[in-house]
């Protein structure tokens, strides 16, 4: 067999992912003196940050009642008591500085007066502390991208990280990437590799994320020996579009359903109704009602749909508050346009009920990191949605944007530091990269078996039905058996109809399938272990939250075998700020 085409080069820091976490890591690593290469799996603008509403939690000093302590407490409470306290604290402490960084890059936060930002509420928060800008995630990614251009940081479009390469002691010494646009392999010998590839919402049938979010980096880290934490928790956004097919799962921005509650914590949000006209949220959260956390809302809606009280197209009805239409039109005109195009004029004007459904939004767990974004594998640094710990069992609305800025920067700093003593070692391991590339080429031009898209649909259905908003032992075991079967009998024969090397989508999808299965298996295994209901994890066979499970689950792989370990929570030192276990419990029972 012919040797795969592979080109080797040397760089200090290799970053996989062109979303905000990857770009922020690139800026920090470059400014700390490292040479940097950023890999984007598609064109550089095809990333999850760009799809975000861009809402940004930070302690800005504008709300005298708010504080770092309060933001930290909200984060841990929303995380149902199991967030990594140290990481949550860092998020609360550094979010505002990173918001100022974005302003220095050219982002214009919304404001009412020249020196006063507009702030609002998001799901689960107890204080008005959320910044935003009309250009949302698009604006954030644009101003950051131009900062990379300014620094002449190399961004390689259509480069998918396939695996990291490790030395004989397990240290990461480089990354192997498939250049999809040329159909060749590139091996980057690197002092440090940063995983900033985002989450894995593509594991689910209905998701709000981009098609590229197949959990590649999480799976690569797992295969390299990294530990995952809280991987059983997947956040679903409760309010997203139901149709047309291309828009199914796309998030309808929170201000649409929060209504006046968007700026006033005591006000009511839009009302949710099932097909009998019942306000079903009252059964689940009579206190916060439609202003409840995302996990409660999403599950409540899903249960109505599963129990036959949804609309024929698989949603429920949200009756928006007509009084807020004018301000909504001014602040979020693009969503009014989408409502008009997807549903019709009366819905776009908030004059008729809007059909909504939950959708897979954010991978709460991920690679287990320390405050410097390092994991247990030396040379491997992880930041953003691919990392776990900050959000625990559920995430506050508006906290992903500061997370990826704060920990993106920390990842870049750690990577630059890591790379200082490691020059050119990785080149010695080029043969390992070549061997792996050879394995990943075997499927090219293979004409038998199922199409990768069919296998992907099977995985997505299994995850949506069994490892989604509603789970049980029976469902989880069934899923793990089905995954084992797919891995053993189906994936090795997945068909790649063409032997073309350039932009061969089926080839890319076969690579993605292995990653999806690795992460899906880890999620289902951890979900099976956690015999309780907490945050985004709801078990029909264990419906109560239990103090016994106020712990984190750590998943790792020993060869092909998955190991799950229950570890004590990471708590903080400062007295009076730390959340007491009873309170954490109370917050998740609400």
């Amino acid at each position: 067999m012919q040797e795969p085409p592979l080109y080797t080069e040397q760089v200090d820091v290799l970053i996989a992912g062109s979303g905000a976490a990857g770009m922020r890591a690139a800026i920090a690593a470059h400014d700390a003196g490292a040479s940097v290469v950023v890999l984007a799996k598609g064109p550089r603008r095809a990333n999850h940050t760009r799809m975000s509403g861009g809402r940004y939690n930070a302690v800005s000093g504008l709300n005298p009642g708010d504080s770092v302590d309060a933001f930290c407490r909200d984060t841990v409470e929303a995380g149902a008591g199991i967030s990594n306290y140290k990481l949550a604290r860092i998020l609360a402490e550094e979010a505002m500085d990173r918001a100022y960084d974005l302003e220095s890059y050219g982002l214009a936060w919304d404001r009412k007066e020249p020196l006063r930002y507009c702030t609002s509420m998001t799901g689960g928060g107890s204080f008005v502390r959320t910044l935003g800008s009309v250009d949302e995630g698009i604006g954030i990614t644009e101003v950051m991208l131009h900062q990379l251009h300014k620094r002449a940081i190399r961004i390689l479009d259509f480069h998918m990280l396939a695996d990291v390469v490790q030395d004989d002691n397990g240290r990461v010494v480089g990354g192997l990437a498939l250049d999809l646009s040329r159909g060749v392999w590139r091996y980057f010998s690197a002092g440090a590799v940063v995983i900033a590839t985002g989450g894995t919402s593509q594991l689910y049938e209905t998701s709000s994320g981009p098609a590229i979010n197949t959990g590649d980096g999480i799976a690569i880290a797992l295969r390299a020996g990294a530990e995952l934490v809280d991987i059983e928790f997947m956040q679903f956004i409760p309010i997203s579009f139901v149709s047309p097919p291309s828009a199914r799962g796309y998030t309808l921005t929170e201000p649409a359903h929060y209504g006046k509650r968007h700026v006033d914590p005591t006000a009511e949000g839009g009302t949710l109704l099932n097909n009998r006209g019942e306000r079903f949220i009252l059964k689940h959260d009579p206190v916060r009602r439609e202003g409840s956390t995302r996990d409660v809302l999403a599950r409540a809606i899903m249960l109505e749909i599963l129990e036959g009280r949804g609309t024929p197209e698989g949603g429920v009805l949200m009756v928006p508050d007509q009084d807020v239409f004018e301000s909504f039109l001014k602040e979020r005109p693009i969503y009014v346009k989408r409502l008009l195009e997807n549903y019709g004029e009366s819905q776009a004007r908030f004059e008729a009920p809007i059909q909504v459904m939950p959708s897979a939004l954010y991978t709460l767990g991920g690679v287990r990191i320390n405050p410097e974004c390092r994991c247990n594998v030396p040379g491997l640094i992880v930041g953003g949605e691919a990392a776990g710990g900050v959000h625990g069992a559920n995430r506050l609305g508006g906290s992903s944007m500061p997370d990826i800025q704060v920990f993106g920067r920390r990842a870049g700093l750690a990577a630059a530091q890591e790379a200082r003593g490691e020059k050119g070692v990785g080149a010695r391991f080029e043969k390992k990269a070549l061997a792996r590339a050879g394995q990943l080429e075997q499927c090219l031009g293979r004409a038998d078996g199922l199409r990768p898209v069919e296998v992907k649909q099977q995985i997505q259905k299994l995850m949506w039905d069994n490892v989604g908003l509603v789970r049980s032992e029976k469902q989880l075991r069934h899923t793990l058996e089905a995954f084992a079967n797919l891995r053993e009998h189906v994936l090795p024969h997945a068909r790649v109809s063409s032997g073309a090397r350039v932009l061969n989508r089926e080839w890319m999808e076969v690579l993605e399938l292995e990653n999806l299965l690795d992460v899906g298996e880890a999620m289902a295994t951890a979900s099976l272990q956690r015999k309780e209901t907490r945050g985004a994890h709801y078990r029909t066979d264990y419906t109560e939250t239990s103090t016994e499970w106020a712990a984190n689950l750590v998943v790792s792989r020993d060869g092909k075998k998955i190991k799950v370990q229950k570890v004590p929570l990471v708590t903080g030192g400062e007295a009076g700020v730390q959340l007491e276990p009873e309170k954490a419990l109370a917050s998740c029972k609400q």
Partner: protein, 230 residues
């Protein structure tokens, strides 16, 4: 409620490494009347042509990477409603990587060469930067350009003259209106060929983000005469 619809589709296929010239494959796709062009392209890939090269990511008009030409008109595939008969081609005038995917290398180089970060005379100080709320809103709107290249592809001035294209002027206008920026964006806009625009407004009509590059050009032209009010 949606109704079933049939689409007759021709797709331009071309692999520069193998093919001497492009050819067109024809498909008849059964879908629903509210389908977008992307739904049809995905259906072709999933059911009929596993070797089709095409690009999309967000599917909701935000990443700007799925732009193609449908019946000769540049559009975002994820936003454009289907027509009963469609010819789908890659975006012109960009080099084709394969089938419907274009090489954006030169586009990104052009953005980079425009130095689109605020050029500050004084270093940024941590803390809110004084910015009029209305100006903030204006800046944000200018910055919500998707860089999808629909307007550049459609612009008749780009086709016949030395003009980089409307999208780039929009970006320069973003910086020109940013109070922290001291760069001479007007000169850059002129150097990019802005004066070749003859005001047809096609860019505004086709912009999937509802922006108006033509208006940005008109404002730059006004600045040439009356000076900037920055």
């Amino acid at each position: 409620m949606q109704t079933v619809a049939t689409f007759k589709v021709k797709v331009r296929r071309f692999d520069p490494a193998v093919d001497e010239s492009p050819h067109y494959d024809e498909f008849e796709i059964v879908g629903q009347d509210n389908w977008r062009v992307l739904d049809v392209v995905r259906n072709i890939y999933e059911r009929h042509a596993g070797d089709l090269a095409f690009q999309f990511a967000c599917r909701v008009g935000r990443c700007g990477t799925c732009a193609v030409k449908v019946n000769g008109v540049p559009v975002l595939a994820c936003q454009e409603r289907c027509k009963p008969e469609m010819t789908i081609e890659p975006l012109t005038p960009f080099p084709v990587l394969r089938d419907l995917v274009v090489d954006r290398t030169e586009i990104e180089e052009r953005y980079a060469s425009l130095a689109l970060t605020p050029q500050r005379t004084e270093a940024y100080k941590q803390g809110p930067e004084a910015l009029d709320p209305q100006r903030a809103e204006e800046i944000c709107k200018l910055d919500s350009c998707l860089s999808c290249m629909v307007c550049v592809s459609a612009c008749p001035a780009v086709e016949g003259r030395a003009f980089d294209g409307p999208a780039f002027i929009l970006k320069l206008r973003h910086m020109a209106r940013h109070p922290a920026d001291s760069g001479d964006r007007l000169t850059q806009a002129v150097d990019s060929g802005m004066l070749e625009c003859f005001g047809c407004d096609l860019c505004t009509q086709l912009c999937p983000a509802d922006l108006s590059p033509a208006q940005a050009i008109r404002e730059f032209r006004r600045d040439m005469v009356f000076g900037s009010d920055k």
